[in-house]
């Protein structure tokens, strides 16, 4: 399922797609689309639309698990069976907000990759226990932070993923200089995904 057109590792995005399905025990009916070879077709095949020309808004085509707005169901309806996990994402210095559905990601790495794609001027840089996004033009570094249910601003990555999804109200990519004011990290600096 890896494509050569996506800039990031596609195995991460597959975590919520193909690989998960392969490890699941299911009794698939004959001819069901799930076990069809056709199911493995995706945007990597010949029929990929020719929008790969780059421009000011040129981005690599989104990978299979993260196509924005597809399928065309309203987010309010999609999340009706579980609690709503859409949060707003703000970037210091940028005039606009985006929204992400935390339940669409399996872990921190996927979320970060998605943020990187969304605000495509950034590239992710992984420090041993931390994640930062860097604006290659200005060299400014941003740390992903979030506001939790108590109204405190925390660094993304400190708590187990599921706990984060349950408590995150909104995200902010904060300039590294401002992030110094945040609550100190938990001693174990847990970044293990669950």
């Amino acid at each position: 399922m890896s494509t050569t057109e996506t800039a990031h590792s596609s195995t991460e995005s597959d975590a919520s797609g193909l690989d998960y399905e392969e490890t699941q025990l299911t009794l698939a009916p004959p001819g069901a689309s799930r076990s069809d070879p056709e199911r493995k077709r995706g945007l990597s095949d010949d029929h990929l639309p020719s929008d790969s020309s780059q421009g000011p808004s040129g981005k690599p085509p989104q990978s299979k698990a993260q196509v924005v707005g597809w399928p065309p169901v309203r987010s309010s309806r999609r999340n009706a069976l579980k609690s709503c996990t859409y949060v707003k994402v703000a970037v210091d210095g940028a005039p606009y907000l985006r929204k992400v559905d935390l339940e669409a990601y399996a872990g921190y790495q996927q979320l970060l990759t998605a943020l990187e794609e969304m605000f495509s001027c950034f590239t992710a840089r992984n420090y041993p226990n931390e994640r930062r996004l860097v604006d290659p033009v200005s060299g400014a570094e941003y740390v992903p932070t979030y506001e939790d249910k108590d109204g405190d601003w925390m660094l993304v990555g400190d708590v187990p993923w599921k706990m984060f999804v349950a408590s995150c109200k909104r995200l902010r990519l904060m300039k590294i200089s401002e992030a110094a004011n945040l609550a100190p990290r938990a001693p174990q600096g847990c970044t293990k995904e669950q």
Binding site: R41, D45, H47, Q54, G58, W70, V73, K99, C121
Partner: protein, 580 residues
Amino acid sequence: MDRAFSWVAAFPDEVWEHTFSFLPTDADRNAVALVCRSWHRIERLSRRKIFVGNCYAVEPAAAVRRFPEVRAATIKGKPHFADFNLTITDWGGGAGRWIQSMAKGWPLLEELRLKRMVVSDDCLEIAARSFKNFRVLSLASCEGFSTAGLASVAANCRNLKALDLHENEVEENCINWISHFPESFTSLVTLNIACLDGEMNVSILERLISRCPNLKTLRLNHVTPLEKLVGLLHRAPQLVDLGIGMLIGEGHPGLFSKLESAFAHLKHLKNLSGIWEAGPLYLPAIYSICEGLTALHLCDSSIQTPELSKVVSRCKNLQQLWAMDLIEDDGLIAVASSCKLLRELRIFPSDPHGLAQPVYLTQYGLLAVSSGCVMLESVLYFCRQMTNSALLAIANNCPNLTCFRLCIIEPYTPDYITQEPLDAGFGAIVELCKDLRRLSISGLLTDRVFKTIGASANRLEMLSVAFAGDTDAGLHYILSGCKKLRKLEIRDCPFGDKALLDNADKLEAMRSLWMSSCSVTLGACRLLAKKMPRLNVEVIDENGGGSLESWPDDCHVEKLYIYRTIAGPRTDAPPFVLTV
């Protein structure tokens, strides 16, 4: 007055006004207004209802000036694809300027319906205070307001008949906004608060319901507790339309029989909607009202098909069914054999991203319904597999389809048996269903399907396309055909400049065109904007705006929204939406 039109004076203005009141559509009234100056004057002074399909197509002040006696206004804002997060937050669609102009020019306004607009609490306050005869407020897919705004509507609109909130994003900062309806307030006919997440004070709600004897529609939100529901239902046995929210709770037998009895008292109930979590346990409580139902909306329900089949087989008079794909083929076969009067079917995906167990909903379900329900005219269907032969059979079974929206969840999915594109299947739909007004296509599709649509879909007004087509010719077929096309929305298709420029005039005959992730360049947008001064050509730049002039012609446009307007470029566009 011109001698050729002297016959107009043969009747007083009131006679013409009365005659015009029988004209069913705005298009007819517009035609009448072109006949002569007198008719133009009489028509504009007697127009009572106005529909503005795109809030940016005309200046609010101009609309209010032209039709000074309007009593009911419907206004739509953002493009349809905004529902799926394809536009950007803060794109626009603000209702403020409209509300201000209406408050000044239409003090007698009675009905206001807004869809996909940003409505602030200030707007609601101004509306509530300015329109003394306000009767109907309907907000669908709107955002920007809070329950504090609703409180001011409740407090100030003494004769409100309808408060209809459909799928809005509402900030809930005023818990007891419902208590702002004064004790003297008794006029409510419709109350739809299904989209609110917060808990309602049930006793306040009960008192409100008790003193509104004309209440016909009550759609509660999902946190209304089951035990309280019984009390509410007993106070409104005259209900025609009920939405009940989640049926959460452990089963205790006493509650079930109370619920059953409460439902049995609703002798006039025609519409039932809601979210059912504890479905299988409480579902039989509604059996007594099933036969009277004409509409059943269970689109957020987690009930599985054996229980669901038992419900639908009792709904012999059902005309409208909205459900999750959990109904599966078996459930739809039950629908086909029991619901002979069915006109509209909508099936939504319970698991849009395919993370859970597969659901046995295939083309067979839709095929069964098309064959068993001869009155079927509107379909929305999400599924994972389809065949050309099924589509052909559906088209043959239902030549009266007016709306056909099929979403095969995985892009580029071919006919799963023959592996061919689904051109032939969709082609059959447009060729055999001559009254088709709305179409959404999906699956593996080549330019051929567009050729057929362009040639045959003569009544088509709205078309949605995603991940389809091979070349620009696809778009050209649509724009050069489809005589009645008003709205076209396209994403992720290899359509580009040439088709747009060759069909520039068509774009002014349409309400709007949305294209995202296609192959359009800025140069083409510039040419188009220059050629067509009455189009707004808006480019959304996700990287934060900046000077459009500096970009080269060959740079790729990711999101494009074109619409006709007599108001010129809009003044409220955020920095990342640039009018070319």
